[in-house]
Every structure is written in structure tokens, then in C-alpha cells.
């Protein structure tokens, strides 16, 4: 059993307040991803769990035991670093055996564990080699092997895939997922890549400026972002935002600006009620915009001018001008569109998002 509980965690580096009041409950066997832009505090949080940074205030507990004062060697965790951190003067075997040697395992047990881990990762032939003789992907596996060989209570990952090329990254992502399914060890994974977060995490924690923005399952965060930052961070291409003014007419709420006039669906009427006369942010994802047909209601569409056409094969991305804003729409590959075309786009009202202008929270 290895649940990790983080309570009111804070970290200050001299003047910089890097981690602000983070609370997190990680269940046993869960794979939690901390994601956010650089400087958001995700790596610092991870390092505090590892014991590599001191804790300014708050508690970290593994299985109800407070580990704040324990040195890294006594926390029974394993970490995979972005640069792999393989010991260059040791063979792959010795790299993997090092942790067990430090814990005074005897030779036969070490051999058995290293073999086992090597088989799981498919690196048996590499055991005698030195790290400098390995490719990036192979080093990555050895780093993983070194971690799993210890059967730790918690795995920590610090952007392990960032140094791999795109294709390898996709491959390793899948392997990591399979590995977690197989081993079932609790894991905390840090990355700045939202794709990794969405695909790998049982739950995702979005951080910004030291604060936790939202915690939840990937799709939950995708479909119901708590604020504008989370909405814009997950999903690629990113969600479109437009500043609109709220007005009320005949019991229905409208959001409008220079380029569009959208009627908000019924469920928003109450929530948007108190914003009448004010400006708010409207959000709609590119995939929820499509070329309007005659059957689409007028109040759910708007006219645009095409500025850029990107044909990807599986979809077409249109950069369009809407009044004074630009938006990106992701449409079906058979759509005919060219630069400077005028067309009409419609949106899916169930997929509309609104955000408060000041607090940026979802409405």
C-alpha cells in the first residue's frame, strides 16, 4: 500500500515562492501526472517528495507516515531523471545493481532482480555495456530498470521523455503505460507536455505559478476545465478565446462581439444572468467548430474570412478572422477552403465555455 498525501505544501527559495499551498491525495497504484508550463512548481513539488529539496512548510506522507525529515535514501522511492543520470563509469548491470548494493542485498538476490527487470524492459543484452555505448532510448530503459529493480513504494518521473525524439517519445509513452499496468506501483510523473499528461495519467494535476489549478481525470479536465488556464493548456490546437459582451433578450442570454452573436444554450441562462452588461471570455475548441450548413441555426454561427489553410491529411486547420479576432477551426479533410474565402462556421452549443474576465474561473 503506498498512498501519498500532500498537505499544505509550500516551498520558498529565498524570495521566490515556488510552491504555494499544494494539497494532493494520491491513491495506491495511481499514476498521477503533474503538468504545467516551466516555473509552475511541478518539478519542485516532485523533488520535495523525493527529499532532494527541503520543505518550507506543510507535510508529505507516505502510508500515513510523515516523511518530511527522512533523507532520500530512507524514503523507499525511485526516480527517473530527464537526463537519465546513469553512472557513466559503471556497466548497465552495475548501474541497476547500485541501489540494491547500497541496501546490502546479497549477490544472488541482486542478480535475480536485475535479470528480472532487464527482461521486463528487454535490455538483457546490454547488461555488460557502458552507458556511453547506448542510444537515447536504451539509456531511458536502463534508467527505468534501475528504478524498478528496487521495488519501491513510489515511482517519481521528472520529464523522462523530453530528451527523446518525437517518434521514440510516442513509443516510450506506450511502453510506460504498459509498464505501469504490469507493475501497479504508485507513480508521480512530471511533464510540460499536455499530450503525455492526457494519455498517461489516471489523474492529472495542472499547476501554474506554484498553485494547483485543477485536479481530475484527463477527460474531466478537458471537458470541464475549472478556469481559462486549464482550458487553454490542455488540447491541441488550443481552445479559442474571444471577449464577448453579455446581453439579455427575451429571456435568453446572448454573447456578442464585433464578429459574432451567439445565443447561449438554456443551461447557461442562470449562470450568465449576473454578467449581463459585462464582458466575459467565451471559449470554444477548434474541433467544436464546423462549416455551417443551411440547417444550422443562425444564432449558433458566425461569418469568417479564411487566413491560413493547413491540410494535415486527417483534418484541415483553418485560421480564420472573426471580426477583429482570429480563431482556429479543425474541420473535415474534404472541406474546400482557400485563403481569402468567406464562409460561415457553426459551433456546438454543448461545447461552449465561458470564463469570468477577472478571476478567469469557469462560469
Amino acid at each position: 500500500m503506498a498512498q501519498v498525501v500532500i498537505r499544505s505544501l509550500n516551498k520558498k527559495f529565498d524570495e521566490v515562492h515556488a510552491v504555494k499551498d499544494v494539497n494532493l491525495d494520491i491513491r495506491d497504484k495511481e499514476f498521477v501526472v503533474l503538468v504545467g508550463p516551466s516555473g509552475c512548481g511541478k518539478t519542485t513539488t516532485l523533488r520535495m517528495v523525493a527529499g532532494l529539496e527541503s520543505i518550507t512548510s506543510g507535510r508529505i506522507m507516505i502510508d500515513d507516515k510523515v516523511i518530511n525529515e527522512l533523507p532520500p535514501m530512507d524514503r523507499d522511492i525511485a526516480m527517473v531523471f530527464q537526463n537519465y543520470a546513469l553512472y557513466p563509469h559503471m556497466s548497465v548491470y552495475d548501474n541497476m545493481a547500485f541501489g540494491l548494493k547500497m541496501r546490502k542485498f546479497d549477490k544472488p538476490n541482486i542478480a535475480r532482480r536485475v535479470q528480472e527487470a532487464a527482461e521486463i524492459l528487454g535490455i538483457q543484452e546490454l547488461l555488460r555495456r557502458k552507458p556511453r555505448q547506448l542510444s537515447g532510448g536504451q539509456r531511458q530503459r536502463v534508467a527505468l530498470g534501475r528504478a524498478i529493480v528496487r521495488h519501491p513504494q513510489v515511482f517519481l518521473f521528472d520529464e523522462p521523455l523530453s530528451n527523446l525524439d518525437a517518434k521514440l517519445r510516442v513509443q516510450m509513452r506506450v511502453e510506460l503505460k504498459k509498464l505501469h499496468d504490469r507493475l501497479g506501483t504508485t507513480a508521480i510523473y512530471v511533464t510540460h507536455d499536455q499530450v503525455e499528461a492526457m494519455t498517461l495519467g489516471d489523474r492529472v494535476v495542472v499547476m501554474k505559478d506554484g498553485y494547483v489549478q485543477q485536479v481530475g481525470e484527463p477527460l474531466e479536465l478537458y471537458n470541464e476545465p475549472a478556469n481559462r488556464f486549464v482550458a487553454g493548456f490542455l488540447g491541441s490546437p488550443a481552445m479559442n478565446f474571444a471577449t464577448v459582451k453579455v446581453s439579455q433578450e427575451n429571456g435568453a442570454v446572448w454573447a456578442a462581439n464585433a464578429g459574432m452573436q451567439i445565443k447561449a444554450p438554456a443551461e447557461f441562462t442562470n449562470r450568465l444572468g449576473r454578467y449581463v452588461g459585462q464582458e466575459i471570455t467565451l471559449g470554444i475548441r477548434p474541433e467544436d467548430l464546423y462549416v455551417a450548413s443551411a440547417a444550422d441555426p443562425a444564432e449558433l454561427g458566425f461569418d469568417v474570412v479564411v487566413e491560413v489553410v493547413e491540410r494535415l491529411g486527417s483534418e484541415i486547420l483553418l485560421d480564420v478572422a472573426v471580426g477583429t479576432d482570429t480563431m482556429v477551426a479543425s474541420v473535415e479533410p474534404h472541406v474546400r477552403a482557400n485563403i481569402h474565402d468567406r464562409m460561415r462556421l457553426a459551433l456546438n452549443p454543448q461545447r461552449l465555455h465561458f470564463f469570468d474576465m477577472q478571476s478567469e474561473a469557469a462560469i
Binding site: I62, D63, K65, L70, P71, D74, R75, D76, N109, R112, R113, E116, R150, H151, Q153, R182, L183, G184
Partner: protein, 313 residues
């Protein structure tokens, strides 16, 4: 869990009990103290302590076997009025200045030459450092032999070339002695300058020279506008280090002339040796040694200021 091997003992039932020493050494600060202790003890005992003792000596009248009493600044007055001391100051300053200039110019020239590709380059570089590697007194002895008034091979060469007819008494002529000593110092120092400057040169990307050449700069201009400014930091470090070493130089003069003839080559270090060890006037010798301190201080301050400036760039 799909592991079949030996299960690890549950970590949280019992984290290994760590002894107080282990826990102490896990603290960065205590570990640092322990690691620095041997160094600090040795340096404290044999640099800091002697330094203060030297200051103490300079304000007493200690002689060998005779403990001294406090005499205030008497020693400093004595050397201030000592004509030999004046000569030593002048000699040391001249010696340092002239040799540094020559070492820098010749060293730079040699570094520029070595910065090209030619057959046997690695070999040459290795041999060039020999004057610096070989023990100074031993190579200085060779020079003493080369300068010998009766048997000098240099005299022979100059004679053969028709440049001289009477012998040159390199080390015995008061007018020439200091020059001879400077020659040996430059000979010994050029390799150090050359190799260090060469390393500095090699950090200058050749593309910069190429760009300058395309822009129309000729060799001398390229040197003045591209090479020299980029080389300045390294040069400064080398020169500062060399200055303090040369100012405090002892071995060369001791072996070649012992300070003579008639104090023509007397330097701070040799005079201090003569007074302190030779005649046993410890306090007066220590006072002379301390005269080196202001120069050291100046060099250290310049170095520190310079390093601070470079680090903020």
C-alpha cells in the same frame, strides 16, 4: 504485482535506523565542515600562523637563538634608510616589469605561431614546456655554466659570429648581471605564457577571424580588433599570477649570483634570505619579506575585482 523475486522488506514498517554520525553527515553543512577541516588545519597552521608570526617578528628584534623584544617600527625605519634595501626595491621592480613585458610579448608571439597546423605540432608543444617543467635551479645551473666567464658557450658563439672580441662577464659585471638574470627568467617564463595564451587563443572561434577577413581586415587589424580583446581575460589572469611570482622570485638569483656582484641583482627575496638566514637577523629578514605583501594585496584585489566583473557579464 508480477514480481517473483524476493520481496523487499516493507519500508515503512521500519526505515533503517540511522546512527547519529550518519544523520550528522547527511546535513550539508556538517559534511562540508568535515571535508574542509584537513585543508583548513594545514593552511591555518602553515600559512596563516606564519603570516602573523612574520608580522610579530617584524616588530621585534629577534635573532637566531635570541628571543626578541617589542621594538615597534624600528625595523621598518632601518630598512627605509638601508641603501641596499633601496637597491633591492629598484631591482625587483625593474626585474618584474621588464621580464613580464618580454614574457608577454614573446609568449604571445610563440602562442600565435603554435596556433597553426604544422607537422609535429603536438610534439613541439610538448617540448616547448620543458623549461617550465624541469626544476628551476637545475636549468638555472645550466645557464650559470653557459654564462661562465671563462668557459661560456655564448661568448664562443658571439666570438665566432664576430660580434665580440673581449669576453662578456655576464654574471660578474655589475652592469650586466641583472640583464643576464632577466634573460634566464624570460627563458623560463615564455613557455608558461605561450601555452596558457595558446589555450586562450584556441577558445576564439576561427569563424570570427574569417568574418573579419571577409570584412577586409588585414592580419594586424584582425589581431588588434578580434584576437586581442578576446584574449584579454586570460592574459590578465596569467600576468597577475606571473607578476606576483616574479616579484617574489628567489631561486634564479640565488643560484646565478647570490645577489651580487655588489648587490646588482639583489631582490627582496634574496636580501631577506641573506639577512634572516645568512646572518641570523630574523626580524629584519622578516620585515623585508613583508615588503612583498602590499604587492600581493594589490594583485589579489585586482584579481577579485576582475573576477567579480567577469562573473556579472
Amino acid at each position: 504485482m508480477t514480481f517473483t523475486s524476493v520481496a523487499a522488506p516493507s519500508a515503512y514498517a521500519g526505515s533503517p535506523k540511522r546512527g547519529p554520525v550518519t544523520r550528522l553527515l547527511e546535513d550539508e553543512r556538517w559534511l562540508a565542515i568535515l571535508l574542509l577541516l584537513p585543508t583548513l588545519v594545514l593552511l591555518g597552521l602553515f600559512i596563516a600562523y606564519p603570516f602573523f608570526k612574520g608580522v610579530e617578528l617584524s616588530v621585534t628584534d629577534t635573532k637566531v637563538g635570541v628571543p626578541g623584544q617589542f621594538v615597534g617600527l624600528q625595523n621598518f625605519e632601518k630598512i627605509w634608510n638601508d641603501s641596499i634595501f633601496h637597491v633591492a626595491v629598484w631591482n625587483t621592480c625593474l626585474y618584474t616589469f621588464v621580464t613580464t613585458v618580454f614574457k608577454l610579448v614573446l609568449g604571445l608571439w610563440l602562442a600565435l605561431l603554435l596556433n597553426n597546423h604544422f607537422k609535429g605540432k603536438a610534439f613541439t608543444r610538448a617540448f616547448i614546456l620543458l623549461p617550465f617543467i624541469i626544476p628551476t635551479v637545475l636549468s638555472t645551473l645550466a645557464w650559470k655554466w653557459m654564462f661562465d666567464p671563462t668557459f661560456s658557450v655564448i661568448n664562443w658563439m658571439l666570438f665566432q659570429l664576430g660580434i665580440i672580441h673581449a669576453r662578456i662577464n655576464w654574471l660578474g659585471d655589475p652592469n650586466l648581471a641583472l640583464i643576464s638574470v632577466m634573460i634566464v627568467n624570460v627563458w623560463r617564463g615564455v613557455p608558461f605564457y605561450a601555452i596558457s595564451l595558446l589555450a586562450g587563443l584556441q577558445t576564439i572561434s576561427p569563424e570570427l577571424h574569417e568574418a573579419a577577413a571577409i570584412d577586409g581586415a588585414r592580419a594586424w587589424q584582425r589581431f588588434r580588433h578580434v584576437t586581442w580583446p578576446l584574449l584579454l581575460p586570460v592574459t590578465l589572469v596569467i600576468v597577475l599570477f606571473s607578476v606576483i611570482q616574479t616579484f617574489a622570485d628567489f631561486q634564479l638569483v640565488y643560484v646565478l649570483t647570490g645577489g651580487g656582484p655588489a648587490n646588482a641583482t639583489q631582490l627582496f627575496a634574496t636580501y631577506a634570505y641573506q639577512l634572516g638566514i645568512g646572518t641570523g637577523l630574523l626580524s629584519e629578514g622578516a620585515t623585508i619579506s613583508l615588503a612583498i605583501f602590499p604587492v600581493l594585496l594589490l594583485v589579489v584585489i585586482v584579481q577579485l575585482l576582475y573576477i567579480r566583473r567577469v562573473e556579472t557579464l
